[in-house]
Symmetry: C2
Subunit: 218 residues, 2 copies
């Protein structure tokens, strides 16, 4: 058994938030006693879809893409790359070191279908990301981890997670700059709405897919 | 001049959200006319702290860390690595290819202070991340991009952005699994609260630092 206080301490999260988050998925734990560790782990795994393995394809074999294929935590958690696509066609037939073959872009759909690939990592330049996403969607991919700085237009039912390292640094520098901001009248609204930018969870635990909205004119 | 509709289209975001986000920082644009492009770019740069260069140190020289040092968008946007720390001490004196020297961990504080380093990237294993963060905080670092899967305990005023690739894949598989979920009574609350997990912005644009909260007992 483990208490929510101990669980929160070990994971550096707020215990009240931990209990609240779990409560969205039903009843967990017993007041005054805590959680059954094995039961909790099993239910959380089921909720997250971690009771099975997932097959991934990498599109874009730059340094970030290669680092992800070699990321040890992925295979430990059941995320297995089955192929890599070289969008520039310069390394076709080579392998990324754990034996992941590098294929041309025009084989992407076939690879996804024949290997029943579940998820794709896009690590190409922003100008090519949408074209890659379109092929992935046509191939039946339902989840994309997108490292390009392009926002992708995908149908409802296809999930996209964005990782933009520059945006992450920008938010650090925004916070640092704001702390040293000299109040000027034209920026007055920054300090009037500080709470708008606070968020108990700084991890993007669960996020929905972005969908285009009806366009209005300024 | 550019309209919010056109700006939203080019960036694949919702135009209403775009206008709302900008409005937190004061008045932007003229109704029925749009935004002055140069003026808007300059004000957004100022808000994000991008009108100056920022100096970074990398701690942890695995594949992810090296890929970040070589990430071309960083230097284009004024983010410049000045040094890398090899926590295992195996590559001291070598360089990561654009001429970034590799130093031992016990030189970290001196490097930060002498080079007036602003930001740090932590790309070490989870067990070492807090020790690294403690030295960074003691050195005066105010912004940390943390690739380890450890949550960090840092004082108020130090900003941390978390990037956990496994968590990002977990949220994709959660969304995919949820879409194919067979309703079972014990999971009924999942479908009762679908809106809890939706979020117009799937990019973690601005996030606050996590702070430990008072502990309550379950």
């Amino acid at each position: 058994m483990i208490s929510s206080a101990e669980l929160a301490k070990r994971t550096n999260v707020n215990p009240a938030q931990l209990r609240k988050d779990l409560s969205y998925f039903g009843r967990f734990g017993v007041r005054g006693v805590g959680y059954d560790v094995a039961g909790l782990a099993s239910r959380v795994s089921a909720i997250l879809g971690l009771e099975r393995d997932w097959r991934l394809v990498l599109v874009g074999i730059g340094p970030i893409g290669k680092a992800l294929v070699r990321y040890p935590q992925f295979s430990q958690q059941g995320y297995n790359f089955v192929a890599a696509i070289d969008i520039d066609g310069k390394h076709i037939g080579e392998e990324i070191d754990p034996g992941i073959g590098i294929w041309p872009f025009d084989r992407l759909m076939q690879i996804v279908k024949e290997n029943r690939v579940d998820l794709a990592v896009i690590a190409v330049t922003p100008d090519k990301a949408q074209e890659v996403a379109d092929v992935l969607v046509s191939s039946g991919i339902k989840g994309i981890l997108n490292f390009s700085s392009s926002r992708l237009v995908v149908p409802s039912g296809v999930n996209v997670q964005y990782v933009d390292f520059t945006v992450l640094l920008d938010s650090l520098t925004y916070n640092i700059s704001r702390n040293t901001f000299r109040a000027e009248e034209r920026w007055a609204s920054v300090t009037e709405h500080p709470d708008k930018w606070t968020n108990e969870h700084s991890w993007p635990i669960i996020q929905s897919n972005h969908r285009a909205q009806p366009v209005e004119t300024l």
